[in-house]
Point group: C2
Chain length 118, copies 2
DNA sequence: TTGATATATTCCGATATCGGTATATATTTG
DNA sequence: CAAATATATACCGATATCGGAATATATCAA
């Protein structure tokens, strides 16, 4: 019984978690990427979550390559590594026509008629 | 003990599953969106998965609003509803500079090394 | 060295999620 | 109505995943 597939840990899975998106957002605001980044303590204060939780989510982001780390003494400076977000961007972009076309109205009407028919 | 958060079922979570991305891909290829869409049987044949699996993933996509359904007799015609992908697009787009900048940096360094080599 | 600080890791319990199989529900057709 | 077709749903077992608490590891400072 094969059960669940082994969680292909990729960028898609990583950003599915709202808190990990929050981390990326926090890391990306303000600071120029050129600097070393921001350390975990800063993130903990900024987000107000328990430190292990922050570290664990950072671990996932790290494994997937969405963040980069640089050791700085006993600190670890994290920064967003956008490279890994590009595939997500490219994927979604393929569906651009689906929201740009205004066929939505046609579809919406069809659905409305459908609902009324039930 | 609060345990796991209740799986905020949104577009991000929906597209985290590779098979659901496959479904969207299958639904989006070839066919103009104007038509009613494609039915489940077509998807089952196209993907080669057991029918319940297809229906269940369609159920998730439906709940999130990533696909639209229109009943056509005993068939259900599915089509991609791009509207719900827009937030994902907008979110990733915010990080565009992170991979573009990185490419710039790589390119810049390559050029610098090239100059120094001469 | 000892203690403090910064961060990661481990262990645990609860729950969500996935695939598989069987079954229910609707709709058409004979 | 009965049989067939199309699709959804329910149930189950395995596993992944999350949050929480405790602990390990590394580094700095006195």
């Amino acid at each position: 019984m094969m059960a669940r597939s082994p969680t292909t840990l990729d960028a898609f899975a990583a950003i599915a978690e709202p808190r990990r998106r929050e981390i990326l957002s926090a890391l990306s605001r303000g600071l120029p990427v050129v600097e070393g980044g921001r350390d975990v303590t800063w993130l903990v204060e900024e987000l107000g979550w328990p430190q292990p939780q922050v570290s664990k989510h950072l671990g996932v982001l790290r494994e997937v390559g969405l963040v980069s780390v640089v050791r700085k003494g006993r600190r670890r400076m994290y920064s967003v590594n956008g490279e890994e977000l590009k595939p997500v961007y490219e994927w979604v972009k393929k569906y651009e026509r689906f929201w740009e076309q205004q066929l939505d109205r046609i579809k919406a009407r069809a659905e409305r008629m459908e609902r009324e028919r039930q």
